[in-house]
Symmetry: C2
Subunit: 481 residues, 2 copies
């Protein structure tokens, strides 16, 4: 226990106690003060020693486990993990680099992904609800579900959408297993080999991968601060007719930009004029910190032009894999057929639980809580970033991403490699372009990080940038394509 006596938890810190504890145990492991196979003290004993609740220690252990630092042997205890054990997973991830998924070694400060941190999840509420569902529905909850989705859930989603100014009948809702599946299913339903798809440039690389996997030709349309470049869009429409154009009008990934209402309306006009569909990916419109709501393009759509994709992963519980599509009636049957060959239906238990979650108004309650925390984190990160010389960025009015520019001529891929060596992960701009074009921007997210990690991470980032600019470095660049 000796080494644990050094631990100190600050009850006045904005960072949750369990996070502080996890951070400090992490450091003990990284600095080899406790080695692989070392058995951590039982929850109760450490809790007594630190004078905190058992749950604080239990949460810290869970966090460490989910990040690969420790392994729990059921009935035996919690042990410092053999970090080498994670190598196979890391290898898999490295292989995924060229598909836009980034490598992450244990201990890395991850500014690259925007996975919300688990303590933001309404676990207790959800537990109550799951049990309510099991008592109410019994075995039915585990039976095959309609491919279209559990009807009561589609009804409450139809209600829910009115808050966004969207009118959609339950028959036009398709429940899906997360936003990525929505993109995959729409690709199946709408893309034939060789079809064109227009996307914002830069854009979400998971979408690029799904479109490419269907053999689509991808055309990137430059994204400006107020939305997609409509002139270049129309110029392209003169000689190419895409199956659809894929856009994220709210807090776009990776830029965090928002479309102006004018840009949304003009885009809709263009879609009508050239008779193309718009695939609107709303993955976190809800995270508007300024207070003013983001109006989806779908809310302006009277002609069944907009396919609306709403994911809850970034703002709710990603592990639930729950999302939905609000569809133009015309493509309903193609989409349900695609859903059917993709996975028959989405997990019934989570559909039924989420239905209750919406009906009980817990969604709004949870969202307000999350917004407050992320909004503070966003301000904190941007404040820290201001101290870094030579970079340009605008503080986004919402969302989880900051798009940071290096001076012209400097490579964000090189910066990525330099940071990775120092245990900090950023998302270099080029992975967000259809053809991985070099770019002097990189994307920063903070959703999964503690304040301490943010401090450490941005200091390291700052050093790396300084070094990059002084051109003192000859680091090897990791291939990203």
């Amino acid at each position: 226990m000796e080494v644990f006596k050094e631990l100190y938890l600050d009850k006045n810190s904005p960072q949750p106690l369990y996070m502080q504890l996890a951070d400090q145990i992490k450091r003990l492991i990284e600095e080899n003060k406790i080695q692989r196979g070392f058995k951590l003290p039982p929850v109760r004993r450490l809790a007594e020693l630190l004078d905190v609740n058992n749950t604080t220690v239990a949460n810290a252990y869970r966090f460490l486990e989910s990040h690969g630092y420790v392994r729990t042997k059921i009935g035996s205890g919690t042990y410092v993990a053999d970090l080498a054990k994670k190598d196979d997973d890391i290898m898999d991830q490295i292989k995924l680099l060229d598909r836009g998924q980034l490598v992450m070694a244990p201990g890395t400060i991850n500014f690259a992904s925007a996975t919300p941190s688990p303590e933001l999840f309404p676990v207790e509420d959800f537990k109550t609800i799951i049990n309510e569902v099991l008592d109410r529905d019994g075995g039915i909850a585990f039976s095959y579900q309609e491919s279209k989705g559990f009807r009561p859930l589609r009804e409450s989603i139809s209600e829910f959408l009115l808050l966004y100014g969207i009118k959609a009948k339950p028959e036009d809702i398709q429940v899906i297993s997360g936003g990525q599946q929505g993109i995959d299913i729409l690709s199946k339903a709408m893309l034939n080999y060789g079809d064109y798809v227009f996307v914002e440039s830069p854009t979400y690389n998971g979408a690029i991968a799904a479109f490419k996997s269907r053999g689509a030709n991808i055309v990137g349309i430059p994204l400006r601060k107020n939305g997609i470049d409509l002139e270049i869009l129309e110029a392209n429409l003169k000689n190419k007719r895409p199956a659809f154009i894929y856009v994220m009008p709210g807090f776009q990934n990776p830029t965090g930009y928002c479309y102006s209402d004018e840009n949304k309306l003009r885009l809709l006009d263009i879609a009508n004029k050239y008779d193309i569909y718009i695939l609107e990916d709303d993955y976190l419109n809800d995270l508007a910190y300024s207070g003013e709501d983001i109006k989806p393009i779908k809310s302006y759509d009277d002609n069944g032009r907009v396919i609306y994709l709403k994911s809850f992963s970034k703002i709710f519980m990603p592990g639930l894999r729950l999302a939905f599509l609000a569809l133009p009636e015309k493509i309903n049957s193609e989409v349900i057929a695609a859903k059917h060959i993709t996975d028959i239906s989405t997990v019934g238990l989570t559909q039924r639980a989420f239905d209750l979650f919406l009906r009980k108004g817990l969604w709004k309650k949870n969202l307000e809580y999350i917004k407050k925390i992320y909004s503070n984190q966003m301000s904190y990160v941007c404040k820290k970033l201001e101290s870094i010389k030579g970079i340009q960025f605008e503080k986004p009015s919402g969302g989880l991403y900051i798009w940071i520019g290096l001076p012209e001529g400097y490579s964000s891929v090189k910066l990525y490699a330099m940071c990775l060596k120092r245990g900090v992960l950023i998302a270099p701009g080029n992975i967000f372009y259809p053809n991985y074009e070099e770019d002097n921007h990189f994307r920063l997210s903070f959703a999964a990080l503690s304040y301490q990690e943010i401090d450490r991470g941005i200091d390291i980032l700052s050093d790396a940038i300084g070094e990059l600019m002084e051109n003192r470095t000859e680091e090897k660049i990791m291939p990203l394509i």
Copy 2:
């Protein structure tokens, strides 16, 4: 309550009480003795009246709800449903006919699908386990999971596979969201536009649909009672090289046939000789009623030829959408990339729960229970079928399907249409052929039916067949392609 006084439940019947009750209330609705909007008596009152437990009545109401007969308004009660309400869903399903999914109107006796009936699910055990997981893992259970699958689950699956004589490292296991997703993901990972895929003829139509959706050319190899026709297979391999050959060696869908061990070994030799992969779909090997286990081809595979796909939907809880792949190391990274663009990862909560389910040995316990019930149903159905003149079938030694032949020249599509008019759904043979060739066979399943439904259904089937043979009918045939 008057009308409910007529109800009579036979405590000595093999059919569960709640099923008997559901059947009788169904009849009241179908015979219009209680109309749309009619409020069913509260669970407690009906239970008293019939002198049964509340749960019996509650289960009956749930069953009726899941079959579209009643709707529960939370906090208000249970009402006879407006059956027209289901029309939109039915329309969707009709649109799906040409993709191999069959229409089902409420009240239909469904011999076509093999959805296990909910009372076979280990709901109580599972509820305990889910709560155990939530207490143990908290928010982590709802966080993003490894695309490959929750590692402890991959470890227990690796253990579990030893029972089937399969050696697979956790690194070679890919957790997926149901068997259909496995087929979809492998199509993404392995099929390029225009590639060949060999399949058994007949075969599972959900696989045909997924392969076609990738633009694959499908070649059907005739299936014999002891396995795929190896001569015809080799003849085709002389001039075509498929990405893989898709087979179901145990209780094949739709035929219920099993490959002989010799056929399995020779197939494996051929795969090695021509350097092709075998995609082995084990969707219910476990349901061997004779007691002797089915050895998967994968258990003979020393050269990484066999991609093993194991689904739990037919024998466990389909609504969980849980399955896995045991992969040759060579294709690991393609598959995890395909999984990633398909839905990032499978629901974490269900992965963690199923891991505990395996570790606690509840799988075996549940399987034995299910086997007994299905085995009895299989015998019961086959006995009834023997009384029908003119059809040929062999009682399968396991599984959920019976493949029934009409005399040469009679159309199972015509029989399908005749039965559908009479409220009985069978699966006509032609939907199981790559090009929907006409066929004089049809597939019967019983997994979701009560003994009373089986009795009524087979009587109706028998009449229809009699009429078909006497050729007294000029019924319109519903288009199936």
